[in-house]
């Protein structure tokens, strides 16, 4: 299981397009991906959940990845979050 807390640096927060990209990548992997923010935890493979969190630039999120391909999944998600920085 990989757990990492980080801040969202995207210019407009995790709005529709980056969220869709996040979900698209997350769905490719078998591992379970959970995103936590302000006491709410949602499935990282569901776009509605991610959008509901309403992540604005600078908000802190905890990403929990666990499963057989967790390393690869975590690497790809981090790449996405960094790419948009």
């Amino acid at each position: 299981m990989i757990i990492k807390t980080l801040k969202v640096h995207l210019v407009d927060g995790l709005h529709a397009r980056p969220a869709a990209e996040f979900v698209r990548i997350a769905s490719k992997f078998k591992s379970s991906i959970v995103v936590e923010h302000e006491g709410m935890s949602v499935n990282g493979k569901s776009i509605m959940g991610l959008l509901m969190l309403g992540l604005y630039p600078g908000s802190e999120v905890k990403i929990i990845v666990s499963g057989e391909d967790e390393e690869e999944a975590f690497k790809r998600l981090m790449e996405l979050l960094k790419k948009n920085n």
Partner: protein
Amino acid sequence: MPRVKISELLEIKDLMFEFIAGREGLKNEIDSVDINRPGLALVGFYDNFAYNRLQVIGKGEYAFLQKCSIEKQNQIVSELLRFPIPAIVFTHNNEPPDCIIQEANKNQVTLLKTALTTHDFQLRYYSILSELLAEEITVHGVLMDVFGVGVLLQGESGIGKSETALELIERGHRLVSDDVVRIKALSDNVLMGYTDPIIEYNMELRGIGIINIKNIYGVRSTKNKIQIDLIIYLEEWKHQHEYDRIGLEQQYYEILNVQVPKIVISVRPGRNVPILIETAAMNFRLKSTGYDSAKIFLDKVQKKYFQRKLIIFKYLYILLVYNSCKINKERNF
């Protein structure tokens, strides 16, 4: 533990609050569903005084205050308001005495009145507050009202929960929430499921995108909350897996310390999942009225088995009697 501000309580129409005094006290918070009737406190007994609850002055307490002289009233009120009370409510639309209004403004205690009777007020307050103060979690799934049964559909992403929900809506059932369901435990056996105000009746369908169910299917297709009665877990058909074929043993899943009946339904071509869910919901209703199809069927089978056994026993008995008679006859002669 969640807390509720007095200003939030004022916005609840059902409680019929009218603000009287103590604007400073509107930011006070309440963390208990109980109220306190400060009868003992009014006569000067303050041991175990539950000051952190909402204080309700009913007909009795009000009559007592009215009987007291102005000086006595002043003394009682100043003693009472030494405690950090969140708010005081006068029921029956009773007008609070002047001294309490002045003290409330000074001591940051909100003063309210309501047109309800004390009994009515208590009932409404309990049910509203237990909902507001309940512990909450969010789960991944789709919550639907199927024939009045609250069904929570769960399963891996991409198994087809939303598509199944869409078919159910088409068949006249109601959507509560898609993808993210907020759940509160109202008591140790009641789970209430809600939608999130941001998501509200929106649904994501792969290939189409985000759609609004309420606008497409109309007002009859949605519901804002429902009690969760049944969890249906959708999973891919596994060849070797043994599925429940009789339905005598009930599986449960625990959410917020509440046990909820759970059914696993496998998805594969040729299995019409919406109709299976409808049937499961109807069977749940039937069970809750006392008719357990599986049990009654098996009882019937068992009865038949016993009847057969009985016939064999009867036959053996007759044989035994006949033989013994024969033996007796032989002995007599």
